[in-house]
């Protein structure tokens, strides 16, 4: 009879194989290892603790149900991250439907505004402690619209190409590029203004 491995020391692929055979303990170990990352990704997109907790749990349930589809082309953590991102995008689409203004309308209205912003002297966060920097980035991210934040998260944190972001968000590559440009310029401006506020 095959001996079961030590779950806490087993590598992800081993745990995945066991979980694919229905081993719930192996799956729990995978949850324990990657729960913070999955939650953090949901939080970075939704900016709300409760929503991010609920959605990350939903992602794990979906992960368990679709585990037989996991082929190991990417790492398990990457695969789970894709699931939680898709759930977040669905959630954001629902929010978008209840919003009065559409993304396209917003893009039209903001067209060119980002070009008018003065160029910020690079590195507005110089000599900041890591914790302070994190807080400042969080505050700036909170002030972006969810469309701009999502593009930024998918590009900078998930390192997705324009084409993939466009596919995931259901928009054109041009829209991705202009949203990303706006988001970066807005971030630079927000980070600089936060720095000025703190210096007062």
């Amino acid at each position: 009879m095959a001996q079961k491995p030590e779950y806490s020391t087993a590598e992800d692929p081993t745990l995945v194989k066991l979980a694919q055979k229905g081993d719930m303990v192996a799956f729990e170990q995978l949850v324990a290892r990657h729960r913070d990352k999955i939650y953090a990704r949901a939080f970075s997109m939704l900016r709300n603790e409760d929503d991010a907790t609920d959605l990350s749990q939903e992602a794990w349930v979906k992960g368990w149900q679709r585990l037989h589809q996991f082929q190991g082309d990417a790492s398990f953590a990457t695969w789970m991250t894709r699931i939680v991102i898709n759930l977040c995008l669905d959630q954001l689409r629902k929010l978008k439907r209840v919003r009065a203004d559409s993304i396209d309308q917003m893009d039209d209205e903001s067209g060119g505004v980002e070009r008018q912003m003065p160029i910020i002297n690079p590195n507005p966060t110089e000599r900041l402690e890591r914790g302070e920097l994190r807080q400042r980035i969080d505050r700036a991210l909170n002030q972006l619209s969810y469309e701009h934040r999502t593009v930024l998260v998918l590009h900078e944190f998930e390192e997705l190409e324009y084409k993939m972001i466009a596919k995931q968000m259901g928009c054109s590559i041009g829209t991705v590029m202009s949203r990303l440009f706006y988001a970066r310029r807005k971030m630079a401006s927000l980070l600089a203004s936060l720095k000025r506020e703190e210096l007062r």
Binding site: M24, E28, V31, A32, R35, D36, K37, Y39, A40, R41, F43, S44, E49, T53, S56, Q57, E58, W60, V61, W64, Q65, G111, G112, R115, I119, I120, N121, P122, N123, P124, T125, R130, G131, L133, R134, I137, L152, H155, E156, F157, E161, Y162, G174, M177, S178, L180, F181, R184, R185, M187, A188, L191
Partner: protein
């Protein structure tokens, strides 16, 4: 700067341009102070976010509590009948129309047999669509006349006698 040029500058920063375009844009940045300043601002923001990729956010719940909710949701989902949503096997999908046709055929055959008497039939008249049934075993001929007053005319087959 035009929007198109600005977005190309950004695409260069993100490695989303061809090598020929990259050379062209690099030379533009080198000779244009405004393009250079904008490029540096975009790069600083990108670098900052990349450095913060490892988010210092942690789940605000204990593992046991978080896992118990996941496990309950999995158990609940597994208790629901799955047949409702699962696709039928290919052989059922293939045989279903055939089986349906067979059932229909049986129904038609039984509906054109009278009290267990089966037989050959043919249309005897094109004008009134009357149909004749013939049973060799029973030595009987039945004629169905589909008019306003339908009637069945039965007669013993005397042709063989």
């Amino acid at each position: 700067m035009k929007t198109e040029a600005i977005l190309r500058l950004q695409a260069y920063l993100d490695n989303e341009v061809s090598s020929a375009d990259a050379r062209q844009i690099a030379s533009w940045i080198a000779r244009d102070a405004e393009a250079k300043a904008l490029y540096e601002e975009l790069k600083a923001t990108k670098d900052l976010l990349n450095a913060e990729n490892e988010l210092a956010v942690t789940l605000p719940e204990s593992h046991d509590f978080y896992w118990s909710k996941i496990q309950r949701a999995i158990d609940k989902a597994e208790q629901e009948p799955v047949q409702r949503h699962s696709p039928r096997p290919w052989w059922i999908r293939l045989l279903a129309p055939v089986a349906g046709a067979a059932v229909l055929g049986v129904f038609v055959l039984t509906s054109v047999s009278f009290n267990g008497i089966t037989g050959h039939y043919k249309e005897v008249s094109e004008t009134d669509n009357s149909i004749t049934f013939y049973s060799p075993e029973q030595k009987m001929t039945v004629v169905w006349i589909p008019s306003g007053n339908e009637e069945i005319v039965a007669s013993a087959d005397e042709s063989d006698d």
